[in-house]
Symmetry: C2
Subunit: 272 residues, 2 copies
DNA sequence: GAGTGGTCTAGACCACAAG
DNA sequence: TTGTGGTCTAGACCACTCC
């Protein structure tokens, strides 16, 4: 009878993983080199390599060519809440928070006017190819890229108004709510859809993600009543962000469980 | 002068990735075998394997031993919104929705009474080791595991009441809001923190995740005023879920951008 | 039994970092 | 120059699926 023997590289990876999770290998510490692992565990280079690859895919270690393999320094998380948009400040609250924590946040934006592609047109409730303002953002924190986003507004709404260009004019950088208020459009709800997935090679490059780090992809739409006024696709490095959502629970029935109906009325649109 | 030559496995991966994204290789289609790739591209097995590994880490393909490599069938996403908790139904709305779509959703739960560990105690606002009810859930959809969660309630709140056991008694399976209503505790807000990361080996096993699929980890707390009444750690397969958050934007100032103050009042607690 | 992916050997050369 | 990780060869055997 044979006893179950896991592959050598799994055993080696588990051994190293233990040392990392128990703290025997601290954050930033260097792991034994591939060749050391070969000698220690009497395996070939490829096998040692496979073990390290396991840990990379789990996001536990980072490899630097010519230097070694290191336990990953998880950069502090940024707490990110949609409430940031509720505040009519010149900067999103997460930027203010990051700056209070001594971090340097920068962003660049590129504005273009173009025809809305099908998916964006649908999200904005306009016709295919309708004119729209597109803004591409790239955010950095301490000179490291942390998120990118592409933001769309229908020109039918903002064209010819003082807020057509979100980053120029009297309300430059004041945030979406005051901007639209100024043209009589009252932004009153936000809808975010979060997807968690691996980055495309392009995103991996843009965000300089080490292998084994997923991204949070957010599709965001602002509404004024039944009318979408802005939509954006945002991509965050998964290991740098926490997304916070805090919501009041609407109540339209008396506090009596027997009084609950099968359906309730929603304060905004149809339930998802 | 040398021209830049990417590694062979990168080139092969890019070639296959193109075929997948353009649809030349449809979902569910089989890729050439490792040995075929060796012959086609005149490389050794390890190199062909490395190319396939790239695509696996991107979540594009799935390998089945003894059969082949297949373009991943991304199972339809489940749309998941906190609004599910607002409805006093016997099942979360996503379960109802999945069932309407012809899917079979099952879950098991295990209830234990135990001492709250430090992190849970802090989230529940009780002392370390205070008695608490812990429920472990495992959800399956069409017999495939899709999420796990661990849910905690302080016994100080529910002990001795009819709702101490969430899944027995008159309000069994009726949802958190009616349950707590019945003991005079009005649950009025929900707070979710979403993290996007790679699964631990344990999660990978529990959710039967193919390599290259991240998870969405949600830390969820229900509040009744200033008092936390339930907290849960939920883990979803990243490729199966979309998290929807729709929120009204609170407004306490007149629709006049000049009237905006630096700070606003929040309908629930302090801003994040 | 034929074909597939999974593991593995014992080397090799290259690109890169650091002294 | 030495040591590191990154790529790669040309094989091998095993476990598994399917016929």
């Amino acid at each position: 009878m044979h006893t179950y023997e896991p592959p050598a590289y799994i055993t080696i990876a588990a051994h190293l993983r233990d040392q990392i999770t128990t703290g025997a290998l601290a954050k930033g510490a260097r792991l034994p080199s591939e060749r050391d692992l070969c000698d220690q565990h009497h395996v070939s280079g490829i096998t040692a390599r496979a073990a390290i690859n396991c840990l990379r895919q789990e996001g536990l270690v980072e490899t630097i060519r010519g230097k070694g393999v290191y336990v990953r320094h998880v950069t502090p998380l940024v707490r990110l809440s949609p409430e940031r948009y509720f505040r009519p400040h010149d900067r999103p609250t997460w930027v203010a928070e990051a700056e209070r924590a001594g971090r340097d946040v920068q962003y660049t934006h590129t504005l273009t006017q173009t025809a809305a592609p099908p998916d964006i047109a649908e999200r904005l409730g306009v016709e295919d190819g309708a004119p729209a303002t597109r803004i591409d953002y790239a955010f950095t924190m301490d000179d490291e890229p942390v998120s990118t986003s592409v933001c769309w507004e229908p020109l039918a709404l903002t064209g010819g108004t003082p807020i057509q260009h979100p980053h120029t004019g009297p309300l430059a950088d004041r945030g979406i709510i005051p901007r639209f208020d100024s043209i009589g459009v009252r932004v009153d709800s936000i809808h975010e859809v979060v997807n968690c997935r691996m980055p495309t090679p392009g995103e991996s490059r843009a965000l300089r993600l080490p292998s084994g780090v997923p991204v949070a992809a957010i599709t965001q739409t602002f509404w004024a009543g039944e009318r979408p006024v802005e939509t954006a696709d945002i991509v965050f490095a998964g290991d740098r962000y926490e997304l916070h959502y805090r919501m009041p629970i609407p109540r339209f029935t008396p506090v009596d469980p027997a009084a609950y109906a099968d359906e309730t009325v929603w304060p905004w649109g149809t339930p998802l």
